[in-house]
Subunit: 222 residues, 2 copies
């Protein structure tokens, strides 16, 4: 079976939006578990976290039969299922390309560790940074060492946190090092071969939804 | 008309997802405009940027009649309309709370400026940071000065980039300073009064969709 056929098992469009929501549900279940809540209905889950109950049921039904009639979901069990679906039941090792402010902030971002990602390495080209480490102890390697470190440390995901003009050459190095999943924070379009998954985070989109909200308030006389 | 009634004009659930897509369309139109493309059909727009043509037409129809039969959309004109809908036709002034690695990275993030946001100020409580500025020249103020600076500089949006335990107290200071829109990068739940809009960015969600992709690849025999 070739790559294209494999990919078709879960339609790309559905999986991206659905997995984003599964991540949100997982975050909610983590909170409930910390509060020792044992079971919850889709309705109660939706009300508590401002979600859509029908959407929750539909999203989960896509992956299996998790609810129990008259009970709802068992929090711990559903949490375990979601972690498995999202591939979080084994540790994924993440490299961050670029040890500037953004790279260092991401290396120490507490949310990644909470879900079991291991930030294994930072890479930079600046001599004065190489050999040092982030506040939480992530070592900064010479980017020339990427291929060697990627193999030795089994790096699964690379995060691109370099200035825009450096992004494509760095992505090319990541691909050449055999890393198959890339999270990009750099503005602008990047290209990767079809067997590599690239996901770009555009922080401007979040600011624009606030801008829209402020504009609405004014146009309705606020 | 009270706050609750005003808000109901655009349903919250629809607006958030739709405005995120409008932001993406705007980004595409910027690219086309730079390339001197004058008109484009929804079909061509969708193919070029891996979007959904029917969704584009539906999203735009919600705000007006922008397409011309047999021509498609005029790039410059649609770009101008989208900027107006998203409230980007006037400059919004943004404050960043916290001048650590994340705050400094956001202060210098080029995408914000490209869309007309002005990063006007950083705020921190650490004496050794106050009075300095970010690489791009954003001044770092004492957080005690927030209320005064917010009025003087007409700050519209606050970005929360402080460690999780400091997030709620800082949000309370932002609200007390009269800022009505907050973008939060801190993990954990925050509360704001109903007349303040809070949007949280969870960077873990992006990593998890890559994790899901990697897990799919393996389970299908990759």
């Amino acid at each position: 079976m070739n790559q294209a056929n494999k990919r078709r098992q879960v339609p790309e469009q559905v999986s991206e939006l659905t997995t984003n929501r599964l991540s949100v549900y997982l975050r909610c279940l983590n909170t409930l578990d910390e509060l020792s809540v044992q079971t919850i209905s889709s309705q109660a889950l939706a009300e508590r976290f401002h979600l859509n109950a029908a959407q929750i049921r539909k999203d989960l039904a896509y992956f299996g039969e998790f609810g129990v009639r008259g009970v709802g979901y068992y929090v711990k069990e559903l949490r375990r299922h979601l972690r498995k679906i999202l591939g979080l039941d084994r540790q994924l090792r993440v490299a961050i390309m670029g040890a500037g402010n953004l790279g260092l902030a991401l290396a120490d971002y507490p949310g990644f560790r909470q879900e079991g990602f291991e930030i294994a390495a930072l890479f930079d080209a600046a001599d004065e940074k190489i050999g040092h480490e982030s506040r939480s102890g992530v070592p900064i390697h010479d980017i020339k060492e990427l291929r060697r470190v990627a193999r030795k440390d089994h790096l699964d995901i690379a995060v691109i946190a370099v200035p825009a003009p450096r992004a494509q050459p760095v992505v090319d190095q990541v691909v050449a090092a055999g890393i198959k999943a890339i999270l990009n924070f750099s503005p602008g379009t990047l290209t990767v071969p079809p067997n590599v998954k690239l996901k770009s985070v555009d922080l401007t989109v979040s600011l624009e939804s606030l801008s829209f909200y402020l504009a609405q308030g004014e146009s309705s006389g606020g």
